[in-house]
Amino acid sequence: MKVLIIVPAYNEELNIEKTINDIKNNTEFDYIIINDCSKDNTKEVCEKNNFNFISLPINYGLTSAIQIGMKYAAKNDYDIAIQFDGDGQHQAKYIKDLVKKIEENKCDIAIGSRFVTEKKPKTMRMLGSNLISIAIKMVTGKTIKDPTSGMRAYNKKAIKMFVDNASLSPEPDTMVYMIKKQMKVEEVQVEMKEREFGESYLNPIKSMQYMTNMFFSIIFIRAITRKNK
């Protein structure tokens, strides 16, 4: 199976080299970096190291970065596309577990989850994660323990959905949409690290915004997704 790892990167000059080396050393899959019009030297770092990268001329955020990655995957006929953060939080050694899960034909989407076998810590952030979990459970009846995880693997069917529907983002509400469309979503236990350099995209205000958006999207919009006949 042809596997593509999509690495969205925005202002990650300090982390990107490490992430790509991690991918190269621990997997034999193809990767593509999506440089989302970074203001720092991310592009130069990619050029210097001769990485495989696409550079967007306008910054449009994570959703757009993943979407162009999906377009690239569909164009080059990849069977599995994996969303993998460029900030060094994700570890490449777990990618093969996600791929294995899909290959064994157990599911359409595999989520790299921190809490399949581990327990959730009781922090503010995890409260948000819990709320989204509850909303998903209410709407679809399925338990997803780590809905906000940014490490997900999608099979060909899911890639096609991303290419066809521009409203899909790499976020929990899309999982609801996919489940409603009768796609199978499974979780695989992974470990994540804290980011080493650079700033996280989520500050308290943005986190609140994110939570509100997700909640409304799941409860009011994705909940009324029509099933495929």
Binding site: S64, K71, Y72, K75, A166
Partner: protein, 117 residues
């Protein structure tokens, strides 16, 4: 409805009509989007000329004063307009994003070709 309000309404709508027509001539506004504004100002003029009708309708609908009815109509009109604008902005946003992706993928292909040569 007082005479002052009627005069203000007439002046305002005539002014917006005038603005629409001149902007179309200068090609700054598309005819399709100006039609809505023209219709809006015509309604305003009609309401100020036939104020008896407005008074009758607002009394039938239970408004405290006919002016409230006029304001309500204007507010609805503006609400619909902003909502339509919102939709237009979203569509434009999607289109720019598609262009963004198109340019990036094209550049990627060109760079790849360049490297192979």
């Amino acid at each position: 409805m007082t005479l002052t309000l009627r005069i203000i309404l007439i002046i305002a709508s005539l002014f917006s009509c005038f603005l629409c027509v001149t902007r179309i001539k200068q090609a700054k506004l598309k005819i399709e989007s100006s039609v809505v504004w023209l219709i809006g100002s015509i309604i305003l003029i009609l309401m100020s000329i036939f104020y008896n009708a407005v008074e009758w309708i607002s009394a039938k609908l239970g408004f405290m004063a006919p002016v409230n009815f006029v304001f309500l109509v204007v507010i609805f009109f503006l609400l619909i307009q902003t909502f339509m604008d919102n939709i237009r902005i979203s569509t434009l946003n999607e289109k720019i994003k598609d262009l963004d992706h198109y340019i990036a993928l094209k550049e990627y292909d060109e760079n790849k070709k360049h490297k192979e040569e």
